[in-house]
Symmetry: C2
Subunit: 238 residues, 2 copies
DNA sequence: TAAGGCAAAAATGTAGATTATATCTTCGGT
DNA sequence: ACCGAAGATATAATCTACATTTTTGCCTTA
């Protein structure tokens, strides 16, 4: 129905600042702590403890945990409670394999739909990433800034793929990959030469060389996997 | 209580049947009602009403809604409540496109990893599907049995792809596709000739003809999309 | 018509009751 | 004494009832 000049239209894009609830805050905090490995794989997330930790009541905590359980960032067992999921080399391999499949496809589509804005964003994201120094353990070892930019770069690559589903799936997997990186961060750091690899991916993408770009992207993931395989990252299961 | 002759032995390594909580029951019920279109797209899910409907308290309902929100089966707005997501032709197109991409890939991998058991399950699933009659509106129009078997068939095809991530993503999208089918069920029914299409997909897959199988699979999805496009399924947004 | 102000409605959160699970203890048989 | 079953206690998850906070709808006023 064409509503000409309707006064208080609720436009789809209207942004009313949504006041965040306690549940949402706990959700965000828990998410970070799980991704960063502060909460250990296998650990039980007891309601009372979590509530105390984040200064919230049992219900908001419970809601947050329920959300996270649907993202597979916590395991839920009825009447038994919530747990931080275990990590394993085997599931990491499956994760990387699937990332290669899906991000390749997303990159391919993105290149097919390339626009000026897409290219610009990639260049920008790369620039920011390459200017972020990797901090070694001696320096405090907080690489969360790098993680954020790293993720932004990979997101920029696939942003034009034309499927919010696919972007969502890739992001979900990025979350989990990030957790593996953080948990093994005690021993492994982002490689110094990753900048160069990212540059190569970017260049192939901007050149419109689909096959080369996909190749370089998946090579990078596989290389990172190999590095992690060399460590024992079986999340405390032994 | 104590059922004589049926003592609840706890065998070693036994998988103890998890007693379902109220939250989980509501979750399942809500999920079904949303997928089947009983709860209309765009509709507000008021806590009290939902609680009354399923005979539960506010908290279990809230937990169920939080889980569903992470699956994109309900929209959540802090302090504003929960809603059944809208449907639109545009997002259906994106959904179908993404399904084609991912299920093609999954099918390809499945065929590459084919085993006897995989083939058997496909044959079995096809048999069951083909023996399920489609009920027209006059006959009550409940095609949930068909939906279950239809889904089982497509799952059997991709079961050997080697990635639980990919299988999960495909299933998530199947849920949403199912909702589109149910909502437009007033006018559209599973096509009579879909049996034949499924047979062709199965045959190509069992023959190990990757390209043909993928082609037939995606053709089917695109054909179904075209059928739905001919209807107005824009969930009451106008 | 537009802004401001209320009151009702609804979402969210708290506290404590209830129920299930896990743990510990006891008892009978070997 | 040792093992396992049965029962009792402690712990923790879950749920209910109600308090608090925010939003929504409506009415008044400029």
């Amino acid at each position: 129905m064409a509503l000409i000049g309707q006064p208080d239209v609720k436009q789809a894009g209207e942004v009313r600042p949504e006041k965040v609830t306690a549940a949402t805050q706990v959700y965000g905090a828990l998410r970070q702590d799980i991704l960063k490995g502060i909460l250990k794989p296998g650990q039980k997330l007891q309601i009372d403890q979590v509530a105390a930790r984040y200064g919230a009541g049992a219900n908001p905590v419970r809601e947050a945990l329920n959300r996270l359980s649907s993202e597979h960032l916590v395991d839920r067992h009825d009447q038994r409670g919530f747990f931080v999921p275990q990590l394993s080399l085997e599931s990491l391999r499956e994760l990387v394999k699937t990332r290669c499949w899906l991000e390749s496809k997303a990159l391919e589509e993105s290149i097919a739909n390339r626009t000026q804005a897409w290219e610009d964003n990639i260049v920008l994201a790369f620039h920011r990433l390459s200017r972020t120094r990797i901090r070694l353990p001696e320096e405090g070892g907080d690489n969360s800034e790098w993680e954020v930019r790293h993720r932004a770069f990979h997101n920029a690559l696939i942003a034009a793929c034309g499927s919010s589903w696919l972007i969502g799936f890739c992001n979900e997997m990025m979350d989990h990959a990030e957790r593996y990186r953080y948990v093994s961060m005690t021993t492994t750091y982002p490689r110094r030469d990753s900048d160069e690899e990212h540059r190569l991916i970017m260049e192939a993408a901007l050149d419109g060389d689909v096959e080369l770009a996909k190749q370089r992207l998946t090579d990078q993931y596989k290389l990172t996997l190999r590095h992690l395989e060399e460590e024992q990252i079986d999340g405390g299961s032994e």
